[in-house]
C-alpha cells in the first residue's frame, strides 16, 4: 500500500477510489466489526448488565493462568518458528528461480492438507509408543521414551510446523529485496560470514521477521486444535478454555469477556509494532 500517494477527492474528503472499495468495506463491517461489537456487548450484558464477567475473569486464578500460558506458548512458538524459517527463507531467496518455485510449492502444499489430519500425524509421530520414540529406542540412543507429547514440547513442535509457511513467505520477500552486493561488499571489507550476517543480513531482514513474527504470534494466540491434541491440560490455551466455557458451561458472558480481552491485547501488540517498525515496514514483504 502506498498510503502517501492517495489523492484526496475534493467532494467528501475521502481517498479517491474509495467507492470501489465499498463492497470490501461492507464485508469487513458485516463479518468483523458487527460480531466484535456484539461480542463486547454480550460480555457486559449477559446474564445482566455490568462488569461482573470481567471481574470474574480477572478474579479467577484459572483464567489468569491460562492467559499467561497462552502468551508463553505463542512466544515460544514464534521464536522457534523464526529460527527454523530463516535458513529456509534464505535458501529460497538465493536459489535459482526454477528450483525455488518447486520448494515453494512444497511449502505451500503442506498448507492445503487438513489441519486436523496433520495434527493427528504428529500424535502418531510424537507419542511414547510413536515412530520417533520407537526409532530412538531401537537405535539404543534412549532407554525411556522422551516426553514429546501432552506438554509444551508437543504443542511447540506441532504449532511451529503449521506456522512455518506464514513466517517463510514474508521473509523470502524481504530477503529477495536485499541487494546481494551488500554482502559481497561486507566480505570484501573483511567481515566474516557471521559478521556479515549479524551486521548486514539480519538488520536488513528485520521488517520481514517482524511482519512474519507478528502474524505467527497473533495466530498462535487463538490456536485451538493443535494445543488441545498435542498439549497437556497444564498448557491449556485460551481458545480451548473459552470453548469449554461457552459450549459446556453455557456461560456466554464470561466466554465473550475472555475473547474480548484477547482481542484487545492482540490489537495493542499490533499497535506497538506499528510504532516500532512503522506501518509500511510492518506490512512490507507480505
Amino acid at each position: 500500500m502506498q498510503g502517501s500517494s492517495f489523492r484526496r477527492s475534493s467532494v467528501a474528503g475521502l481517498p479517491a477510489g474509495s467507492g470501489s472499495a465499498l463492497p470490501a468495506l461492507l464485508l469487513v463491517g458485516l463479518f468483523f466489526i458487527v460480531p466484535v461489537v456484539a461480542l463486547l456487548l454480550r460480555s457486559v450484558t449477559d446474564p445482566e448488565p455490568g462488569l461482573q464477567n470481567y471481574a470474574a475473569l480477572f478474579g479467577s486464578g484459572t483464567y489468569v493462568r491460562v492467559f499467561l500460558n497462552t502468551f508463553l506458548v505463542a512466544s515460544v512458538v514464534t521464536a522457534v518458528t523464526i529460527l527454523v524459517a530463516f535458513p529456509v527463507a534464505w535458501m529460497l531467496a538465493i536459489m535459482p528461480p526454477a528450483l525455488g518455485s518447486i520448494v515453494f510449492g512444497i511449502i505451500i502444499l503442506s498448507m492445503w492438507t487438513n489441519l486436523l489430519t496433520r495434527t493427528y500425524a504428529w500424535m502418531v509421530l510424537l507419542q511414547r509408543t510413536g515412530v520417533i520414540n520407537r526409532a530412538l529406542m531401537g537405535l539404543g540412543i534412549i532407554h525411556e521414551p522422551l516426553p514429546l507429547i501432552n506438554n509444551l514440547a508437543g504443542v511447540t513442535i506441532g504449532m511451529v510446523y503449521i506456522m512455518l509457511p506464514f513466517m517463510i513467505l514474508p521473509l523470502v520477500g524481504t530477503l529477495r529485496a536485499i541487494d546481494p552486493m551488500t554482502l559481497r561488499a561486507a566480505a570484501l571489507c573483511g567481515a566474516s560470514p557471521f559478521e556479515a550476517f549479524r551486521r548486514i543480513l539480519l538488520p536488513l531482514s528485520l521488517p520481514g521477521i517482524a511482519a512474519g513474527g507478528l502474524m505467527v504470534f497473533v495466530m498462535s494466540l487463538g490456536y485451538f486444535v493443535t494445543p488441545a491434541l498435542l498439549g497437556g491440560t497444564s498448557n491449556m490455551m485460551l481458545a480451548e478454555m473459552i470453548a469449554q466455557t461457552v459450549q459446556s458451561l453455557l456461560n456466554w458472558g464470561l466466554g465473550s469477556a475472555a475473547a474480548f480481552v484477547l482481542l484487545v491485547v492482540t490489537m495493542a501488540l499490533y499497535a506497538i509494532q506499528l510504532r516500532l517498525v512503522g506501518a509500511k515496514r510492518a506490512g512490507g514483504g507480505i
Partner: protein, 334 residues
Amino acid sequence: MKLILTGLLAGLLAATAAKADEMAFTSWGGTTQEAQTKSWAAPFEASSGIKVLQDGPTDYGKLKAMVDAGNVTWDVVDVEMDFAIKAAKDGLLEPIDYAVVPKADLDPRFSNEHSVGSFYYSFVLAWNKGTVTGEPTGWADMFDTKKFPGKRTFYKWSAPGVIEIALLADGVPADKLYPLDLDRAFKKLDTIKSDIVWWGGGAESQQLIASGEAAFGQLWNGRVFALQQDGTDVGVAWNQNLTAADVLVVPKGAKNKDSAMKFLAAATSPTGQAKFAEASGYAPINTKAKAEMPADAVKALPDAHVDGQINLDMNYWAEHRGEIATRWYAWQTK
C-alpha cells in the same frame, strides 16, 4: 443487540431449513452415532417416510444459541443426562409428548418430563494387556503407580465420573459419595497428576489404550466393547462400574416437533433399543429390549454387572455443574 448477535450466530449455524418430511438428529459421531443411524434412523425412515438428516457432534453452546435465536435446526439431540436436567430448568427443551412416545416399558431412572432415555453406559476400568502385567480390579489400582506403573487416561472435561473415581479409590463408600468432597478428590488426584493423560473424546480414548500410549483408562464401556470387537487385546474390570446415561431431547422451538416425537417413539421401542444395544454394547433403556437380543450380546451390557455397580448422581451434577467445573479447571490447569 443480543438478538442481533444470536440471530447472526444461528443464521450461520442454520445449514438448511428443514422440510416437512425431514428432521435432523444430532449425536456424538463415531461408532455410537453410526449405531444410532443404523438401528433407529434407517428403520424409522422406511416405516414413516420421514427423512432423518444426521448432524453432529452435539454441542451444548450451539443448542442454546439456536433456542435463544428462535432458529432451531436440530429436532432430536443426544445429550448427557445431567445437561438435560439443567437445560430443562433453563427452559431450553420441549416437553416429551408421552401420548406419542409409549412410556410404560421405559426405565424410570432415565426418562422424565423433558427427556427420554437414549442409552445408558458405564465407565469401566480398561487396560492394554500387552503393556500391563497383572490384573487391576478396582479404581484404587489406577492410583497405585507402584503396583501398576504407566500412564493412566481419564475423561478430560468436568463431568460425572473422575471425581467419584478418586473418592472411591480413597476409600469413600459408594453410598457416601454425595455430596462430593471435592477437596478430598483433588488431593487424591494430585497423587497421580503427572501420570494422567486426558482424553477428550471416545475415539481418542480408544486410540490411547489400543496403542499402549496409556496403560490404563477410565473408558465408556461401549468403546471398550468396540475395541474388543476389533480384536484388540484389552482387559476390562467391571467392579465399581459407574453408570451414567445419555438422553434424547427436543430443543425448544424445534421445527419438526411432531416428526421428532415419532422418532423418539421408534428409538425407544424395544426393537430400536435392542438393535442399538447389540451394535454398541451400551445398555437399553427399554426394559423389554433384552428379550429381543441374542444371549451373548446381553452378557456384554452393563446390566450383566450390577454387582458393584454405582449410579452416578445426575441430579447432583445438574445442580452443581458450574461450581464443580470452576474447581475442576482450576485444578487441571495448575
